[in-house]
Amino acid sequence: MRVLVIEDERRLAENVARSLKENASWVVDIALDGVNGLHLAGSVAYDLIVLDLMLPKLDGLELLRRYRQEGHKTPVLVLTARYEKQSIVTLLNAGADDYLAKPFDLGEFLARAKALVRRAKGQPTPMLVVGDLEVNTVERTVRRSGRDLTLTPMEYRVLEYLAHRPRAVVSKTELLEHLYDYNWEKFSNVIEVYISGLRRKIDDGAPMKLIHTMRGQGYALRAGEAKR
């Protein structure tokens, strides 16, 4: 997952980013002002945007309105120092999906961030299930047929992304975009390495394959189909 944090307070942005990296294995970009934030939000496919309200150059609420006007559907979690009812109503009506009042609890922030991401992808619980494969996004553990699997952090990121959208075909470019920060082009062939690692750990010896390669299109995680 890839997250954009738009927050002018550098120390706070860094803490939030660090927490997302360490506790969710997500990739985080930081924008320190509204103009840069809107630009990044519009040009990169993020899974979540964390937005501060009082921003230099472009106000957070205005940024949110313009972002939604451009038609983007990425969930937005707003960090606000004000929590009068009216401003929260205005926020939610402008297209925010959730808000947290400063100072907030990092644990709560993480839980809300994860909930927003999985809801946006149609998953109701943090436990993602595909056939007999279970991905626990809270503990970041993976089990197949009741057996714990040990994945590397990168393998987990790839699997988590695929598990959020079971049955969908996910292109290599999409995976790269959502799992790496700026310079993802130079990693273009590492995805195949992670997929083969995952396939070895998940599908080897299992009666049914879950990871499918669609030639020239990408990858899909799905169950309930006959072996190919």
Binding site: N15, N23, F104, L106
Partner: protein, 487 residues
């Protein structure tokens, strides 16, 4: 406390005035009517007296003496109290009178020959005596031998009094009616006239901290007596609203800054605790926390300093007896800002022609210059220059700080001295500021009776200058030598 009613007072004044007028009118009316009636009465009295005289005639056969035709006497004014008359002459002896004549009438007035009033049997009478009325023979015309008679005629004046009273009653009644009408009209008019005032009060009563919207009713603005009041309320309210909104914004901004600082601290703690870390990581985290706490402390200090300076300015300024030398406070400030300037690669130049002495705390002045220099340095590109200039002027001293940096957007220029100014947040964040430096400088300068201004051209640079009154004890120094000093 008993309230005075404007309506009641004005109505009472109007009605009272009218009452006086009505009484006067009645008196004048009665007097005038009486005089007119009396004049007419006198005329007719005289006419009747002459008619009585005309009833005296000579006997037809040239006999001596006189005769009187009693039956032809003119009709009385009043049927109840008949007129009284007497006609007589001394030579020949002749006397005729009405039935009700009493010689007592004339006993008291032997020599009268004009009108007079008297009372007889409780009835007011007015009488007239015509003396020496010649009796003419119709056939011969006036001759020397014509007999002269004295005629007395009197009639009751009850009628005059009654009619004068009638006039008085009529005038009085009409006046009373008019009085009641005007009283009602006045009360209504005053009430109606005060409607705009009630509307105005209603509108003003609706003002609250949540609703500052005050629109004076049109009626009030169109009433010349109320327009100044309505405008005064409007002006006061807009000033109050401005102050209130500023205060609320300050509070919101201050809360935002404090919450953000606490949020940083909290998130640093939590992220440090989220998983076991190496001693090295803990140490780095603790250093981060120390930096965060320093920042919070600096924010609190600045907010308190600003509050103190603003309080001082609001209390009517400082009246310190301390005297500070401008040039030396500037030198101190330049020394204090050295490390920041060096870190940003900016050269600070001090130019002074002595400046003079100011009634102020030296530390306060130094803080002003430091804040101005800090601001200038933050907006300057590396290897540019910031110039601090102290100049003596006719009625004070002028201290200016000039940079050749990014300049300020004309839109933001009017707000740069506001607390937590927003136009420039990114830069102030980058350099660890809070947007309070210029606000503090302004508050201190104003507390010492000075003023601060700024001019700026975008992408070319900014000049901020301060004017301060010189200390009275200070003697003018005659050393216009400019001594540039760089740091």
């Amino acid at each position: 406390m008993k309230r005075l009613s404007l309506t009641g007072r004005l109505t009472a004044v109007v009605v009272g005035g009218q009452l006086l007028l009505a009484v006067g009118l009645v008196l004048v009316g009665i007097t005038f009517a009486r005089r007119q009636l009396l004049a007419a009465f006198d005329m007719s009295l005289q006419g009747k007296a002459r008619a009585i005289a005309a009833l005296v005639y000579y006997p037809p056969d040239g006999e001596p003496g006189l005769l009187f035709d009693n039956d032809e006497a003119p009709p009385s004014f009043d049927a109840l109290y008949p007129d009284v008359y007497q006609v007589k002459s001394s030579a020949p002896q002749f006397e005729a009178h009405s039935k009700n004549f009493d010689s007592a009438f004339l006993a008291a007035e032997p020599a009268r020959q004009d009108y007079w009033n008297f009372s007889w049997k409780g009835v007011p009478y007015r009488g007239l005596i015509l003396r020496n009325v010649a009796i003419r023979d119709e056939e011969t015309g006036p001759t020397d031998t014509d007999v002269a008679v004295d005629v007395f005629y009197a009639a009751p004046t009850l009628d005059i009094t009654r009619r004068a009273d009638e006039v008085g009653l009529m005038v009085g009644g009409a006046s009373l009616l008019l009085l009641i009408l005007t009283g009602l009209l006045a009360a209504w008019a005053v009430r109606r006239g005060l409607w705009p005032l009630r509307d105005l009060a209603g509108e003003a009563a609706a003002i609250s901290v949540k609703n500052w919207d005050f629109r004076p009713p049109k009626d009030a603005l169109e009433t010349s007596e109320l327009a100044p009041l309505a405008q005064a309320i409007e002006t006061v309210l807009s000033k109050l609203e401005l102050a209130f909104v500023q205060q609320r914004e300050f509070l919101a901004d201050a809360a935002h800054e404090l919450k953000t600082s606490v949020a940083i601290l909290k998130s640093t703690f939590q992220s440090l605790l989220q998983k076991p870390r190496s001693p090295h990581e803990y140490r780095a985290g603790l250093l981060d926390l120390l930096g965060d706490v320093d920042r919070l402390e600096e924010l609190l200090n600045r907010m308190l300093r600003l509050a103190r300076a603003e309080q001082q300015a609001a209390d009517g300024g400082s009246n310190t007896l301390e005297v500070a030398d401008l040039a030396s406070t500037c030198e101190m400030a330049v020394a204090r800002i050295k490390s920041l300037a060096a870190a940003r690669g900016v050269e600070v130049q001090l130019a002074s022609n002595g400046g003079g002495e100011v009634n102020a705390d030296a530390d306060d002045l130094e803080l002003v210059w430091v804040n101005l220099l800090e601001n200038a340095i933050q907006h300057s590109p590396p290897s540019s220059m910031v110039r601090l200039q102290v100049q003596r002027e006719a009625n004070g001293a002028s201290i200016s700080v000039q940079d050749w940096g990014t300049g300020i957007d004309p839109e933001d220029l009017p707000y740069i001295f506001e607390r937590f100014r927003r136009g420039d947040r990114s830069r102030s964040r980058e350099t660890g500021g809070f947007g309070l430096g210029l606000a503090i400088a302004k508050a201190i300068v104003e507390a010492y009776g000075g003023n601060i201004q700024a001019e700026s051209t975008l992408h070319e640079g900014t000049r901020v200058w301060v004017r301060l009154p010189l200390s009275r004890q200070a003697e003018p120094k005659s050393s216009p030598v400019t001594s540039p000093e760089t740091s």
